[in-house]
Structures are given as structure tokens and as C-alpha cells.
């Protein structure tokens, strides 16, 4: 659940500006997780406000892409208030990911509430559960919550390279979260095995990085989403549940949808993922600021990094 998808798939960035940004990010990760949880909340809020103000002023490519994605999803032009809230939400996610190792299980359970929880508990107790999520709220926390409430999770990480990130994986694995690399040719087999081992498989399903996704429509616009969640669900007979994480004042809600019907064939896969995308788009539209999609999402924008 480490998907900082803006840090892209492995091949090294060519531009010097990206290299510097990478260095800074790496530095933040390296030290951030040590101090993040100890910072007083007021200070964190102030830092987040300051950075979001700067980001909006600079209006770089990420912010512009975010605005574009939000506009097409909500179907209306994005006013500054929403954009600012979205950037703050992204930063809040960043902060919480760093702070997670310092939170005890009680804190995690306190912060998270799940809407329609019986759907996933029932599936877990029965045929198994594959949960598909978009890049909304703090999906990392959702995984931690599932592990803390008796449902061990297996997930695919979008980025997993340097020693600095290894600390994240090590902590999450100690919580019972199994992390599979997206570059692992055995990934699908491992996910299927996870269902047989009575684990919940959680996958980010709104952005296809592998190039082997299916075409669906997101609020009338064509996009590609990964077919993985549907494949694993069909192959193992597990229930496919879409879920969206959205922040609340001092915590987070995981809104879980109803299980998607399994359908056969390649078309069936597409229809299943279409149902997932519909749930995502509808739920996100109700609280769009928590959807941190700062990468090209719809066709028609530069897909350079997404090509791999």
C-alpha cells in the first residue's frame, strides 16, 4: 500500500529537477517516519496549509493535472477551495503514512470506521475477499486497520525500491501486511495463494501501470484500469468488493460497496471492472477532495510516464 504513484515505476528519472525532488523525497521518508508522529497536530496543520498554499501558487504540472482530473470527475469546473482541500488531503495522507509506525493498534482502530463492514467480514469468513480501492484517502491506513481487526492483508506495492522504503515494508509486514512487488512475475500467483491462505487481497484499481488493463468509462470518459482485482476474484471465487477511503475530521471512513457479480470471459472482466469504476466515480464525486490523482488519468494528456 505504499503507492506513491508520482514516484513512478522503476526506471530512473532523466531530468535533474526530478532527481533533486527524488533526493528530497527520500530524505523526507528517511527522517519523516521518525519524527512525524511526534509533531504536535497544530504544527502539522500549519505546515500542510503552508505547503498547499505554495503548491497552488506555483500551479505546477501535478496541481494542473489534479484540477483536470477533478473537473472531469465532478463534471463541473474546480474552484480554488476544492483544489486547496485536495492538496491538503494529499499532504495529510503523506503525513499519516509517515506517522503510522508510531500509532498503536488501538489508535488505528479508533481512527477508522468502515461503512457496510458486514460485506467484507462476511466475504472474509466465506469465499474470501478481494478489495479494490482508488487513490483516495489513506488506503495504507485501511490496510493497517484490516490487519488490526483480524483480517490479514496482502497487497501490491506500486513502488518498492531503496533501502529507505524498506523500513516501511518492514513495519507493515510486522503488522501482518504482506507486500508484493508489482514487478514480480509471480505476483498474481502470490495473490491467489493469499486468498487460499485466508488473507484479504487489497489492490489499488483506478490507475493501470502495467499496460494490461481493461478499458472502462469513468463518468463518461474512457480510462484503463487494472484487471487484477477481477482476475483474482474470479479465479479463487472470492468476492470482489469496491471500497473508497475518505477522511473525516479526526479519522477516516472506508465506504465499502456491495460485491460485484462475477462474469465470464474477457468481456466479463471488463464489465466487472466497470462496476468497480462506477462505484469509485460515484463515491469520489461525493467527496472529491480526498482523491489524490495527480497523474495523467484520462486519455488525451501526456502519457509518457504511464507508458511503462
Amino acid at each position: 500500500m505504499l503507492g506513491r504513484s508520482d514516484a513512478a515505476a522503476i526506471p530512473e528519472p532523466a531530468r535533474w529537477r526530478d532527481r533533486i525532488r527524488d533526493r528530497i523525497l527520500r530524505g523526507i521518508y528517511h527522517f519523516g517516519w521518525r519524527i512525524a508522529a511526534r509533531l504536535p497536530h497544530r504544527l502539522v496543520a500549519v505546515i500542510i496549509s503552508a505547503i498547499s498554499w505554495m503548491a497552488l501558487r506555483q500551479d505546477g504540472v501535478h496541481v494542473r493535472t489534479l484540477r483536470h482530473n477533478l473537473a472531469l470527475t465532478t463534471g463541473a469546473p474546480v474552484h480554488t477551495g476544492l483544489l486547496r482541500a485536495a492538496v491538503k488531503s494529499y499532504l495529510r495522507n503523506f503525513y499519516e503514512v509517515l506517522a503510522l509506525p508510531a500509532w498503536p493498534e488501538t489508535e488505528i482502530r479508533r481512527r477508522v470506521c468502515a461503512v457496510n463492514e458486514p460485506a467484507v467480514r462476511g466475504a472474509y469468513a466465506g469465499p474470501g475477499a478481494v478489495v479494490a480501492l482508488p487513490h483516495s484517502g489513506n488506503w495504507d491506513l485501511a490496510g493497517a486497520w484490516a490487519c488490526a481487526t483480524g483480517m490479514p492483508v496482502t497487497t501490491v506495492a506500486e513502488q518498492l525500491s531503496d533501502a529507505e522504503y524498506a523500513a516501511f515494508v518492514a513495519f507493515r509486514e510486522s503488522m501482518g501486511l504482506q507486500v508484493v512487488s508489482h514487478r514480480d512475475p509471480e505476483a498474481l500467483t502470490t495473490l491467489i495463494k493469499a486468498i487460499h491462505d485466508r488473507r484479504v487481497v487489497c489492490l489499488l484499481a483506478d490507475r493501470d501501470l502495467s499496460g494490461t488493463g481493461v478499458r472502462v468509462s469513468w463518468r463518461g470518459h474512457p480510462i484503463t484500469v487494472p484487471a487484477g482485482p477481477a482476475i483474482v476474484a474470479r479465479r479463487t471465487g472470492a468476492a470482489l468488493l469496491p471500497a473508497v477511503c475518505q477522511f473525516t475530521e479526526d479519522g477516516m471512513a472506508i465506504i465499502i460497496g456491495e460485491a460485484i457479480t462475477h462474469r465470464q470471459g474477457r468481456d466479463g472482466l471488463t464489465r466487472m471492472m466497470q462496476d468497480v469504476a462506477d462505484f469509485f466515480a460515484d463515491t469520489i464525486a461525493r467527496q472529491p477532495e480526498d482523491w489524490h490523482m495527480m497523474q495523467p488519468f484520462f486519455f488525451g494528456r501526456e502519457r509518457a510516464e504511464a507508458a511503462r
Partner: protein, 166 residues
């Protein structure tokens, strides 16, 4: 720089580009060939596994229900002209069946175990080769210049091996 110098420079650049592209094309070709060869090896290994499983029914002391279960699963896997998805399912089913019957067998089938291990390794090698081939084929230059030619895009073979000690 005189026109002659510019021309010479251009030619050098062209030569380098052509060389790089040819090299890339040969890598793509090698990778695609490797994906095909590993598929042949995997196919042979799967057939070997299914045949060896079918031979289990001749094991002395085996009960008819187990024999039927195994024979049926093996026959389904050996069926000719299966499409990829069906073959994946049939081979996975065979793995599950073999796992399930393993404690019921009177003696431990070592030959079958090594066939299963061989199939698993061949599957790993095939999927690895496919991943490399796909990675190369999806490169921008390769797509734009159609360096992969008319060869079909290889796909991984996703099946479950079952519990084998590897």
C-alpha cells in the same frame, strides 16, 4: 561549421541511431523467441506432469475414488486445443487435486513430485521470459517503430502449482 562537417556529423548520428535501433530490435526478437521456447518447455512439462498423474491410477493399493478424481483432472488438462484460460484453469485444478489426494496415496509418488517441480520451474521461467519480452515490446521506441513486427504479444501463464517443496 562547413556543410561538409555538418553532413559528416549527421551521417555519424544516423549510423549510431540505426545501430541502436537494430540492437534494440535484436533484443526484442531474442526476448520474444525466448518466450516462445520457454512456452514449449512449459507445455512439455505440463503434459509430462499430467501423464505422470494419470499413471497414478496404476499404483497398487489406490482406491477407485481417488483414481477417478486424478484421472479426470489429468485428462482435462491433457485435452487438446484448449484456449489459454481454460488450460490455466485445468492445470490449476490438477494441482489442487494432486494436493488433495496426496495424503490418501498408499506410497509417496516421487516421480510425480519431480514432474510437478519441473512444471513449476518451467512456468516460472516462462513467465519471467514473458515479462522481459513485454517490457521490451512496450518501450516507446519499439512501439513507434513497430520493432516487434507481426509477432503476437506473449502472455504469462497463470496457474497454481499447488504445494510442492521447491
Amino acid at each position: 561549421m562547413s556543410t561538409l562537417e555538418i553532413l559528416a556529423l549527421l551521417i555519424i548520428v544516423m549510423v549510431i541511431l540505426v545501430w541502436r535501433i537494430t540492437w534494440l530490435a535484436s533484443r526484442v526478437h531474442r526476448a520474444t523467441m525466448r518466450a516462445e521456447r520457454t512456452w514449449s518447455a512449459l507445455d512439455a512439462a505440463l503434459v509430462g506432469r499430467a501423464r505422470r498423474a494419470a499413471e497414478l491410477v496404476t499404483m497398487p493399493g489406490i482406491d477407485p475414488a481417488t483414481a477417478l478424481l486424478v484421472l479426470d483432472a489429468a485428462a482435462a488438462a491433457l485435452e487438446p486445443d484448449l484456449c489459454k484460460g481454460d488450460r490455466e484453469r485445468a492445470e490449476s485444478d490438477l494441482s489442487h487435486v494432486l494436493d488433495a489426494v496426496d495424503p490418501m496415496l498408499p506410497t509417496s509418488p516421487t516421480e510425480l513430485a519431480s514432474e510437478r517441480a519441473r512444471a513449476s520451474i518451467c512456468r516460472r521461467l516462462h513467465n519471467d521470459a514473458v515479462a522481459t519480452a513485454l517490457f521490451l515490446r512496450r518501450r516507446f521506441t519499439v512501439r513507434i517503430l513497430r520493432l516487434a513486427g507481426r509477432t503476437a504479444e506473449p502472455r504469462p501463464f497463470e496457474m497454481e502449482d499447488g504445494s510442492i517443496a521447491l
